[in-house]
């Protein structure tokens, strides 16, 4: 059980109006705090959006952005290492689908030496257990620090 917690990664999610300069304000704040953004995506709806990011100092990012008046929350995501070849994504998606775990959103992280898929699923702990059982490599949260 304890092992599973290691694979829960704290993503920060930021509510943002869909207008020029909002992403720049967020990015500038990260620069000022010397926080590195490791992976990142923007989900957009009509008029607003949610910026999601994995950063190396999530608590510090949370406080900085909250102080600036942004609405910020933490979300648990998992990071799955994919085989960097045809069928790599299919393998992960199939395992989760078979286990009836729903992927709510996903985005990619192509770091140093790995292709990593960041996933938000409806049940992160079940997903971790399922993937580990099938010998899929998950990145520990410490990987992003």
């Amino acid at each position: 059980m304890n092992q599973i917690e290691h694979y829960l990664i704290k993503q920060i999610s930021i509510f943002s109006e869909n207008r020029p300069g909002r992403l720049a304000a967020i990015a500038q704040a990260m620069q000022e705090e010397r926080i590195n953004i490791l992976a990142f995506s923007i989900a957009e709806a009509d008029g607003f959006g949610v910026v999601r990011a994995l950063v190396d100092h999530s608590e510090r990012a949370y406080h900085k952005l909250t102080d600036m008046g942004f609405m910020v929350s933490f979300t648990d995501v998992i990071a799955v290492r994919m085989r960097d070849e045809p069928g790599g994504l299919y393998e992960i998606a199939r395992i989760l689908g078979d286990a009836n775990i729903n992927i709510e959103y996903a985005y990619a992280y192509t770091g140093k030496d790995a292709a990593v898929l960041i996933l938000r699923v409806n049940n992160a702990r079940d997903a971790i257990a399922t993937l580990l059982k099938r010998n899929v490599t998950l990145m520990e949260s410490s990987f992003f620090k």
């Binding site: 008029g47 607003f48 929350s73 709510e104």
Partner: protein, 433 residues
């Protein structure tokens, strides 16, 4: 103390009506002979003071409008010479020229006593520390409350508006038990206090708030009471009626209008016909004992209803329900009447959105559009776009069913909608541009 002046506050209704009739009759005779304006208006309406034989005959008298005060700027409606005046107040000229009101010593006395009765009915008195955070100066709010609070023997902190951090420090240091300000300013004070790490509820002695000068809703009252740990009382008045002068009592069941000072009518704004108690219409007042600037059948433009039953507190005077909006605030959107207060009332019932909102009315391709911008609360923020879309949909559906008009809803970042220290201005009507 239960009543400041029990002899008048608990007067039997019959007796109150006789008193009102006597005062009205005296007023009309006086104006007919003293005031060119009223003499001419009464002649035009074909009514003579002798025609006033019952209290209901007030309906024969002509109406008076805000424009009459503006047209006779600055003091041509006054019926006493300047040396009889002890004070002027001037109302903000948001829609043209400002209006000037004047007071004799006796006018100030009646105003002060009206507020003394009102504040005591809210459970305040000697020993209370009342922070007056209405503007002092040309606006009637600050000085009016100040005199009333001193009259009942309370201690006044005359903070006026602005410098909110300092207001909160003084509130704590001087142990304020009550505050008088606009409801939107109290919300602002609450937010600033939280940022300073101060809980109004737990860290101050504040237990009552006298709130007015702008329309607010019952739900906003509930929020303020729960959040700040105070009893919130509605206060009513306009500069033409001295200033703020009537409040709810501790029962919080409508604003007591002291009948010896004012005669209330509710008028249908479309037909000008008087409406019976319980029907919604335009508040119209005759101030019975005013000396410097007489006010007869003044169409205030505020929308309310009247009730004439005796209050549970024992006071016999008529009451009005909270102001629901202004006749001239009414927005007509695709032919349907919409009051900003209805929008506020609807939003206050949705926990996912914050206390501030903005209404933007526009015209796109010959069709009116209504946009309501709301701030999401921290608790409601979800990382899932679908959840956010659902909140927006919920707000739009609630507005649609309350207003019967389709409203577009925009979720905005917290703290980005304008905050107001005085009267809130939440409507942007781009159709006029």
């Amino acid at each position: 103390m239960k009543c400041w002046d029990p002899r008048i506050e608990e007067i039997p209704k019959e007796e109150l009506h006789r008193l009102q009739y006597r005062l009205l009759k005296t007023l009309v005779y006086k104006l007919y002979s003293l005031s060119d304006f009223y003499h001419r208006r009464m002649k035009e309406a074909g009514v003579h003071p002798d025609d006033i034989r019952t209290l209901e005959d007030v309906q024969k008298l002509p109406f008076m409008y805000k424009s009459d005060l503006r047209d006779h700027y600055p003091d041509r409606l006054f019926t006493v010479p300047q040396e009889e005046l002890v004070r002027y107040h001037v109302s903000s000229g948001t829609t043209g020229k400002p209006t000037v009101v004047g007071y004799t010593q006796r006018d100030i006395e009646n105003w002060t006593n009206s507020l003394a009765r009102a504040l005591v009915s809210c459970g305040l008195g000697r020993g209370d520390v009342i922070q007056v955070s209405y503007g002092y100066g040309l606006f009637t709010g600050g000085l009016g409350l100040h005199y009333g609070a001193e009259r009942i023997g309370a201690t006044v902190i005359p903070t006026s508006t602005g410098n909110t951090e300092r207001q909160i420090e003084l509130m704590m240091d001087l142990k304020a038990t009550a505050i008088a300000c606009t409801p939107s300013y109290l919300l602002h004070i609450g937010e600033v206090a939280e940022k300073m790490g101060v809980s109004i509820k737990n860290d101050t002695r504040l237990r009552a708030a006298i709130l007015g000068a702008e329309p607010w809703s019952e739900r906003m009252r509930n929020r303020i009471q729960e959040w700040l740990g105070v009893k919130a009382y509605d206060i009513y008045g306009t500069s033409e009626l001295y200033g703020p002068l009537f409040t709810e009592c501790h029962e919080q069941q409508g604003i007591h209008i002291w009948g010896d000072l004012a005669l209330v009518e509710i008028i249908d704004p479309e037909t000008n016909a008087p409406l019976p108690a319980g029907e919604r219409g335009e508040l119209t007042m005759t101030v019975l004992q005013k000396e410097a600037l007489p006010i007869v059948r003044f169409r205030i433009g505020d929308i309310t209803t009247m009730r004439d039953d005796v209050c549970a507190c024992g006071r016999t005077h008529p009451r009005i329900t909270r102001i629901e909006g202004r006749v001239d605030d009414m927005l007509i959107i695709r032919g349907i009447n919409v009051f900003p207060s209805q929008i506020e009332h609807t939003l206050m019932g949705i926990p996912e959105v914050g206390r501030e909102f903005q209404i933007v009315v526009d015209r796109k391709a010959e069709l009116d559009s209504l946009l309501v911008r709301v701030e999401l609360t921290h608790e409601a923020f979800s990382d899932r776009i679908k959840d956010l879309m659902n909140i927006r949909k919920k707000v739009a559906e609630r507005l649609q069913s309350a207003l019967l008009v389709n409203a577009e809803v925009e979720l905005v970042e917290p703290g980005t909608l304008p905050r107001f220290e005085g009267k809130a201005k939440r409507v942007v009507d781009r159709r006029k541009l």
